[in-house]
């Protein structure tokens, strides 16, 4: 067994704190990425 990708330490590494933050550089979106209709 070889670890290809390390486990995240959820309570330390994951940004629990920021519901408005974005994963892939899309700061104008809610985190889910679903913007209402085709706005903007």
């Amino acid at each position: 067994m070889e670890i290809v990708k390390n486990p995240v330490n959820i309570e330390v590494e994951v940004e629990l704190a920021d519901p408005s933050s974005c994963d892939c550089y899309k700061p104008a979106y809610p985190q889910c990425g679903c913007i209402p209709e085709a706005h903007g």
């Binding site: 067994m1 070889e2 670890i3 290809v4 990708k5 390390n6 486990p7 995240v8 959820i10 309570e11 994951v14 940004e15 629990l16 704190a17 920021d18 519901p19 408005s20 933050s21 994963d23 892939c24 550089y25 899309k26 700061p27 104008a28 979106y29 809610p30 985190q31 889910c32 990425g33 679903c34 913007i35 209402p36 209709e37 085709a38 706005h39 903007g40």
Partner: protein, 440 residues
Amino acid sequence: MHVISGMIERIRPMVTKGKETYKVSKYNWLVVKNDKLYVFNGITTAIVKVDKKHCEIMKKCLCKAEEIIDLELFPAEIVQTMKLCGFIVEAAFNEVEYLGVLSNVSRYNSDIRSITAVITTNCNFGCSYCFQNKEGIQVRNVMSSRVIDEIARHVEETKAKRMNLCLFGGEPLLYPETCVELCSKVKNAWGEKPGRLSMPLVTNGYFLTKNIAIGLSEVGVSVAQITLDGNSDVHNLRRPLLDGGSTFDVIVENAKIASEYMNIVVRVNIDKGYDYRLNKLDEEFNGYKVIIRPAVTRYEHCNQPERTSENISILDTMRESIGELKMEDVQLKIAGCSAVSLGMFTVMPDGELVRCWNEIDRKSSGERRSTLFDENIYAIKNIYKWLSWGPYSIESPCYSCKMLPNCGGLCPDDMMRKGKPYCHVRAETFEQAIKNQIKD
């Protein structure tokens, strides 16, 4: 007492005297790439390559979600790895409840404040699929200095360590002075606080000229999202001016120039029957600091949710074919939408507060909505419907979904109104996304 003893009875059969008892995680994915077996876990997001000699037993054991596992079947180091990577968890550990708790920690964290400022609901575009602006431009429909000052006051008073102010509309750049006034006052109100203030802009890009980009950049706007729906033919048909005039060339030119002063994200709405030609857009922006991001055109507001579902499917297939599957698909997502977080709100031009961007054009159902001028804008009673929503209860349609840790239940508004989620990723696509993480 009854409840507690019932719980103990439920757990007791799993506990073997003097021995740790573990069960298989609900969120294991076994994928094969280049004839090698890999295991991925949705909560820890760890990926492990399995030795040939252990393939069969791993296949047999790790796909049986929540079943007690006999640890004596495995060498000690493998047991250790399985625990570390979350492939097995303590028998009494409820992974869904755990995700729910993490979600709550995030929702009620006072370190974060996020405000969406609807500068106006007026727009200069007449997009074929838009839910807004059906009544035409209304003169009084722009955020007043009184509302701006109140937003700035909240920013000044907040003890949050991170502040996000999103300029939204309608088309906010119909009123660039209002945008600059708001950002400038908010920037001053934030002052030298430790932490981070970010001010993104969502615009159609038509008025994002060099001077406006410079002006906004000077008051702290560092990113703008604009929208192009493919090449000029497609885009001009779908996103014309109110008088039907074309917009593509102006937006592209603006985006290129503005990218010298701020980051530009181009949203491309995917729709059935249109050739979105993403690659052509890539070529168009070659050499510029512009990120292109495909997204789904939604039709729930036209009571045509099946069209949305179709588009989700098209996007899903497209992402697979153009290799657009990214890290985000296999990351842990427990924070969910900011609409269900205490520290987030959307301010309408007159100071009325709504939670979700979808509510901007939705008439109130008769209940008085709270406003920015209320004594307690975070009054739980006003927003409990949002705060109490979650995909982690046993009644939720997401409860049994294997992708739950990595999608977070998606859109609360969809779920609350339609009773079901619009899932953005199929299991097959998700598997492909896991494989894309594996560099062999």
